[in-house]
Symmetry: C2
Subunit: 242 residues, 2 copies
């Protein structure tokens, strides 16, 4: 099983949908009106329709820049496969995005692909020099996991062979490469723009996911948020049988 | 007058169009077949329809990354306005793109704008937080100069007030900013993709510009290229009255 960043869902799993809504109301009393407004504005624009897989990214400032781009484009989930590299978030580069994006740590690329496929994702590897589909032409009707490799060696053979299809970024220059943070930003920009313009109809989070996300963000924001949330959950369970 | 990177046009200004074509033939005998093929493939994809103005970019590795993106997207001209900062190319970041892109050094943003306007450009400043046109909606029927500011303070008031219009990159995250190299790459990607897909009809270089560009690239490539070219020009002028 992949290790999720922080998983607060256990905190409120005993609550019904109404209980969770009540938990959210109570938690938002503890954050500023402005912050709540930001959550309400951003959450409906988050997506899991597009997700990112980073294979063995050597320099953690690059991985952190990818998290930041995911946040900017509303891509909620990032899968980091670190067989060889210790992954740490560079807070200066991530600019806090690691608090708002869900990242999952994996050890094995094949397992990662299998788990994503089980969730309905098509695995698309990015290969700068292949004569394949341009990112601008990629069909995004199905949930899509974009795989990016390391700066040094690109994707491993396993990551390439295990993918369902391949894309590249259109380039017209002598220097036919981008660093990984630019490549990811360009790809996510291209795909999420098309997604939002209607090329995929099912990109939004479900009501349940939306609430879970806002609960997660609240708990991240409130000092000692997890304990605070647990306490409210106890009150709700005792008080009303929710 | 802006200072151009290197200006080899003086070398062959005495030649007629046919003479220049002959110069190109002779110069390409001195480079590999493969390299010539690259020139022939890339030159028709270069454009001056979109150009970039960098105002006072503090970190030269960022400016170098911008040159690299311009090369990748086929944007031929970059205008660097350096009132306060000494500008140097970081060769590691630029990856040679400074050889293939034409950059012009300016001292004053107002003068730069005036010169670009005289050439028919509309000046579009990029402002991340303005409620203005999205880069994805910017009308690019007219030649467009995109202005990017420094990492530290953004664009100067002069640069903002002097612009004809403003654009921003669509963002849906908590971290509402990109570093300048990502912002430039995203903007150029978006505009040049639309340009190539037909949203501007007049983006290609003229025959004359195309030949000048290929001559420039040859002279850059050949060792002691300028002297070699001068010698051929002399032969052509003496030999055939071209």
């Amino acid at each position: 099983m992949p290790v999720r960043k922080e998983d607060y869902t256990k905190v409120y799993e005993a609550l019904s949908a109404e209980g969770r809504q009540e938990l959210y109301s109570r938690l938002t009393e503890l954050i500023s009106e402005e912050r709540r407004g930001v959550f309400e504005r951003l959450a409906p624009n988050r997506t899991r329709h597009i997700t990112v897989v980073l294979e063995d990214v050597f320099q953690s400032h690059n991985a952190s820049a990818v998290l930041r781009s995911c946040d900017c484009f509303g891509v909620q989930d990032v899968h980091i496969v670190a067989q060889r590299n210790q992954f740490t978030i560079s807070s200066e580069v991530a600019m806090g995005s690691n608090k708002w994006v869900d990242y999952y740590m994996h050890r094995d690329i094949r397992e990662t692909y299998a788990q994503l496929r089980a969730k309905g994702y098509r695995i698309v590897a990015t290969l700068p020099h292949e004569r394949d589909t341009l990112i601008t032409d990629l069909d995004i009707s199905q949930p899509t996991a974009l795989v990016f490799g390391t700066e040094l060696t690109g994707l491993t053979a396993e990551a390439v062979e295990g993918a369902d299809s391949y894309v590249k970024i259109p380039m017209y220059g002598f220097t036919e490469s981008f660093n990984i943070s630019v490549a990811t930003a360009l790809s996510l920009f291209s795909l999420t723009e098309r997604m939002r313009r209607g090329e995929s109809s099912n990109w939004r989070l479900s009501e349940e996911e939306l609430l879970a996300l806002k609960l997660d963000w609240c708990i991240q924001t409130i000092r000692d948020g997890e304990s605070v949330a647990r306490e409210i959950v106890q009150q709700l369970l005792l008080g009303s049988g929710m």
